[in-house]
Symmetry: C2
Subunit: 143 residues, 2 copies
DNA sequence: TTATACTTGCAACTCAGTTGATTTTCGATT
DNA sequence: AATCGAAAATCAACTGAGTTGCAAGTATAA
């Protein structure tokens, strides 16, 4: 999605060592055309090198806490992850009910509805997740 | 949230028997001021009667499939549920990052951004979930 | 009453994610 | 180059929400 990022530099800026697993996570997320499940990330790293799942989970958790990665709670028990670099701003997601795949949609302007979405006075809204559910064009073609 | 529903009649319309557990699930969701986790629903039913968790999970799953209840994937591995009766139309939710509690927000008009949210031509969007994350007024008062 | 389908319960399971303790690796210092 | 300490990765065992298969109970119709 964005090869324009210098991942080693990004890690250095965060005060993190550019270890092979951290770089692999960032590269895989950077190349992915859609949000990936932790399981998928793990398998893609394993195609290159031996790695323990705990390591990947801990890295993803750390990146999420630092805001380098966004964790999406799209369905049930599986989290999806995507890069949160400057080239990949927040945007809505589409999830197909049939194949469960996740597409990234274009960012939308929420200015108009933003104040409505704050809720009761005193709430502080930090960010908004929009998820669209339906059936994707691929699955519609088949049936 | 809506005591105006006649739950027995609703179940009859769905061709379901008005069993004590089914009624309890509907009543609890009907009285809740916010979306509840399956665990919470289970505990609230157990305050009245002995019940197995599998029964509650199956009922929630069945109600969700029938569109009587909405299942919300707000975070990680826990699902939240809310009544999907005529008095409780779809609406955005606010989740506090501190206390993790879920508030229901007022429905918003999405007409203007609806077409943008469909995604690639051929996708069929069925419904939209909007989740706002931040810190609620209660938690802000404390800190 | 009996046959039937529907509903609930129980025990065991699944599986994504987590925990804690141990080992390895890396970069700095001697 | 050897050593030391912190950061990073590993391993095994665990957690817990949700699921499965099957047995037992209960309502409805014939």
């Amino acid at each position: 999605m964005s090869d324009r990022c210098n991942f080693s530099r990004w890690l250095a800026l965060e005060g993190l060592r550019a270890t092979p697993v951290r770089l692999a996570v960032l590269e895989i997320l950077g190349e992915a055309p859609r949000a990936l499940r932790a399981q998928e990330i793990l398998e893609l790293i394993r195609a290159r090198r031996r790695v323990n799942k705990v390591t990947v989970y801990r890295i993803l958790e750390d990146f999420t806490r630092r805001g380098m990665v966004r964790k999406l709670s799209l369905e049930g028990r599986v989290n999806h992850f995507e890069l949160a670099c400057e080239h990949h701003p927040p945007h809505p997601h589409f999830q197909c009910q049939t194949c469960r795949e996740v597409q990234c949609l274009e960012p939308v302007a929420l200015n108009r509805i933003w104040t409505e979405l704050q809720g009761p006075v005193g709430n502080r809204a930090d960010h908004i997740d929009i998820k669209v559910e339906g059936v994707c064009h691929k699955c519609r073609d088949i049936s």
